[in-house]
């Protein structure tokens, strides 16, 4: 498998990573995704990593990069379905992916992307901060 498929769902792109990521695959995904965001005019990118059992710092940085690139292209990135062990590993590696939005599963990630404008307005009111 050379490429990870990128699916278009409405105005969002869905990427499901189901194989172990090696570095070349990660770089290819980054390039494909950037091109697809522009060509599809996507407003959100959903990356499902629920099948990913191992991450290293390279993959962590790739996620961060994708988020940064899509932010420039006016699309929000949501990483969904991270496993507990993966989350702990990333934190121990010092990669807390501060630029990336996260959600527990694809469903919530999707509603996050479609309702982002509305959510932001709600947050400002109800935060209580």
């Amino acid at each position: 498998m050379d490429r990870i498929p990128i699916l278009k769902l409405g105005n969002a792109l869905l990427v499901t990573i189901q194989v172990d990521m090696h570095d070349r695959l990660a770089t290819a995904l980054e390039e494909d995704l950037t091109a697809r965001i522009v060509s599809a005019g996507a407003r959100g990118v959903l990356i499902d990593i629920s099948a990913l059992e191992v991450v290293d710092s390279f993959i962590g940085r790739m996620l961060d990069n994708i988020a940064a690139v899509s932010r420039i292209l006016d699309a929000d990135t949501v990483v969904v379905g991270m496993r507990p062990a993966v989350a702990i590993t990333l934190v121990e590696l010092g990669l807390s992916l501060t630029g990336v939005k996260t959600a527990l599963n694809v469903e919530r990630g999707m509603s996050m992307i479609s309702g982002l404008g509305r959510l932001a307005a709600l947050d400002a009111d109800d935060d209580g901060e």
């Binding site: 969904v80 507990p84 989350a87 702990i88 934190v91 996260t102 527990l104 599963n105 935060d127 209580g128």
Partner: protein, 295 residues
Amino acid sequence: MAPDAHKAIAELLASQEDHVLREWLRQLKEDGTLDSGRIRENEQAVQCTQILRQLRQGAQGGTVDLSNAAYEPLRDTLADLSRSRALQGFTPRETAMLVLSLKEVLFDALARQHPDDATFLAKATNQIGLLLDRLGLHTMEVFQQSREELIVRQQQEISELSTPVIKLWDRVLALPLIGTLDSQRTQVVMENLLESIVQQGAEIAIIDITGVPTVDTLTAQHLLKTVAAARLMGADCIISGIRPQIAQTMVHLGVELTVVSKATLADAFALALARQGRAVVKVRPAAPAADAART
């Protein structure tokens, strides 16, 4: 004649078992092992009888080497005894004296049996002494080991007890932390929290640190790690229960918690509900206390 300590013990115990047992029990009683009330006199007598019988079996195996297979029943008995005593809370001294007091009794009995043969007596005494010392060491080793196992088990239980994850509401979890947060506990806390987030499908986790006695830079770092890991799973964290003095100390130390924090768990819960678009409202005037108790 070559000194055969094992033969001497076997003979001694065969001919004078009752006498030795009586003397031994008297010694133990004088030593005050019964005073603590942890063991009854006849219970101790049964144990001593068994030890003597197995010591004789061992000696009949033709050696005074404790590692010999002939002494295996004796070693096992002492290990069991020592383990149960460690759990019952006997002092190390009481446990050690059980074996070591036998030494004097055996020496006396041996001296009475061979009053004339000084050379034999000296060598046999020496060997019996060594054997009993080793038995004593063996007992203490097991004793110590059992105590350590107990401590390890208790540590585990404490760390599990003090990191419960509670479901407060649909998709809202609370994690009341109690005790100092070191890196090992942070690991347990983190794992528990993340597992619960997956299981309950939580969106918001409230970390309540009312029970954390001190918050220094390291603790803060551990807290932030937990918050970051929960965020990666798609759950937001709120920290609550920072006491006034701790808040002051944290500011003086320059510790910064870059997360939403609330003074009490109740405030944090209200915020969590508000974020979900929920609110707690009063539906009727509060009933008087007596009425509330009846209904």
